[in-house]
């Protein structure tokens, strides 16, 4: 019902907001506690998935300001004293990816997945170095490695959802 309503005004205003809105939704998702037994405190970095997906497929609909706001929201919800860290890393991800996005379009999913692995690794190393610097002590790498592994492992699920959203709302936009 809702979908039909949205599609009727193809090219319209609400559909164009889907990338930004899903990115914000993924930010919220990444702070929802998953009480899965054996699961650590760390949850997948869903926000990075959204930024990765939309930067490759519809960078025109995910402007830098949306990436910035999403990163800032993530930092504020995270409760980290280093507000701006995620905003910075997401913005840099977008900037670097903008130059590489042609490579990923129309490739098989494993190629995309491998690309995401690279992006995640870069982000995690960057954040680890930055927070260590800000904190004034070298942080343990384990939580960072764990977060990266978890995120890369759950990328197919996130990517599937985003692709569905793209097909549903942005076919004609």
């Amino acid at each position: 019902m809702r979908m039909a309503l949205f599609q009727r005004e193809a090219g319209g205003f609400p559909n164009k907001l889907v990338p930004s809105l899903t990115t914000l939704l993924f930010v919220l998702l990444s702070v929802v506690p998953l009480h899965i037994p054996g699961f650590a405190v760390v949850t997948p970095a869903f926000a990075l998935m959204a930024v990765f997906h939309w930067t490759i497929y519809r960078p025109d609909l995910l402007p830098p300001i949306a990436v910035f706001v999403a990163g800032l929201l993530l930092d504020l919800l995270n409760g980290t004293p280093y507000v701006g860290t995620s905003a910075l890393s997401l913005l840099l991800t977008r900037t670097v990816l903008m130059g590489q996005r042609r490579f990923f379009i129309n490739r098989l999913f494993p190629v995309l997945w491998a690309g995401f692995l690279g992006a995640m690794a870069a982000v995690v190393i960057f954040e680890w170095a930055l927070v260590s610097l800000l904190h004034g002590a070298v942080l343990g790498v384990r939580p960072f490695v764990f977060e990266a592994a978890l995120t890369v492992a759950s990328f197919p699920a996130g990517s599937y959802l985003l692709a569905r959203a793209q097909r549903a709302f942005l076919m004609r936009v």
């Binding site: 919220l28 998702l29 990444s30 702070v31 929802v32 506690p33 998953l34 009480h35 899965i36 037994p37 699961f39 650590a40 405190v41 760390v42 949850t43 970095a45 402007p63 830098p64 300001i65 990436v67 910035f68 990163g71 800032l72 929201l73 993530l74 504020l76 919800l77 995270n78 409760g79 980290t80 004293p81 280093y82 507000v83 701006g84 860290t85 995620s86 905003a87 910075l88 913005l91 840099l92 977008r94 900037t95 995690v124 954040e127 680890w128 930055l130 927070v131 800000l134 904190h135 002590a137 942080l139 343990g140 384990r142 939580p143 960072f144 764990f146 977060e147």
Partner: protein, 286 residues
């Protein structure tokens, strides 16, 4: 073109925020509270189905090892009955001794139960957002516990949500003591699952398995709240395994011990508060 300048501008802005956040914690504290308050209803709605699903999974798991669990509980029950006996005897003895020394007991604490609606999830912060705030009487500095032990302390309070800084966070410093020797130390989180014990007197040795409880002398926590056990002592680095399973909490209890006014609202950033004794809690024995 103005479009081209957007990204560099935003990158610069992020960097400025990082530097600003490092210098002035208060500004972002306020902002965080506002955001948390605004997002609380949404997060609550998102957290509910996830929690239901998780408890469903646990339920199914429970059915499978019912037999083993039963055995274990029977054994534990036998052991606890012995302890109950001991506790009863000690209680009577304690009451008698208190009578003799005219000891003034502490007031009964008040508990505020709160659901966890968000956890930091990131790799470099350890805190949770709970669905109780100023409305329910939560104030900064209160201790958060589960049935097992201390979880952390309230760091920020909004109207309907509050942030609890977990024991394992980088900025968590909690005055504790070794239960057996009553030696004082500071338990500092370092982002790992097991916080470190700092500033223990040099001549004191901590042994693995030793119980750690909170120390009331800082005026921040009531004394004697169970925290954890010494997990390892490795070339001077003492690590504590918290009693509470911080990764699987759904609810916490925020404890109002009536030590109000210990941490002035907004007067100072909390991470530093744990270091110094700001208010001396009158010691009734003396």
């Amino acid at each position: 073109m103005a479009q081209r300048a957007v990204v560099p501008f935003l990158v610069l802005l992020s960097m400025m925020f990082i530097v600003l956040g490092k210098a002035d914690v208060l500004l972002f504290d306020r902002l965080r509270v506002v955001i948390a308050d605004a997002a609380a209803p949404l997060l609550e709605a998102l957290a509910q189905p996830v929690a239901t699903m998780a408890s469903g999974v646990r339920h199914v798991e429970g059915v499978f090892d019912l037999y083993r669990e039963n055995e274990r509980l029977r054994e534990e029950n036998a052991r606890l009955l012995q302890w109950q006996d001991v506790a009863r005897r000690l209680e009577t003895e304690n009451a008698g001794l208190r009578d003799l020394t005219k000891f003034v007991p502490e007031g009964a604490p008040r508990f505020i139960s709160a659901q966890i609606i968000a956890d930091s999830g990131g790799a470099f912060a350890r805190s949770v957002l709970v669905s109780a705030g100023g409305r329910e009487g939560v104030t900064r500095g209160q201790a958060a516990v589960t049935g097992e032990g201390l979880v952390g302390r309230v760091a920020e309070v909004g109207g309907r949500a509050a942030r609890i800084l977990l024991l394992t966070d980088l900025n968590s410093h909690i005055p504790v003591m070794l239960d057996s020797s009553r030696e004082r130390a500071v338990m500092a989180g370092d982002n790992s699952d097991q916080p470190r014990l700092l500033y223990l007197p040099i001549n004191v040795t901590a042994k693995p398995g030793e119980r750690i409880v909170t120390d009331g002398s800082g005026g921040i926590f009531p004394p004697g709240v169970p925290v954890g056990v010494v997990a390892s002592v490795d070339s001077g680095i003492i690590r504590v395994e918290p009693y509470a399973d911080l990764s699987r909490m759904e609810y916490v209890r925020i404890v109002d011990f009536g030590l109000g006014g210990v941490l002035p609202q907004n007067a100072m950033p909390l991470p530093r508060a744990a270091r110094g004794a700001r208010v001396v809690v009158p010691d009734p024995v003396r």
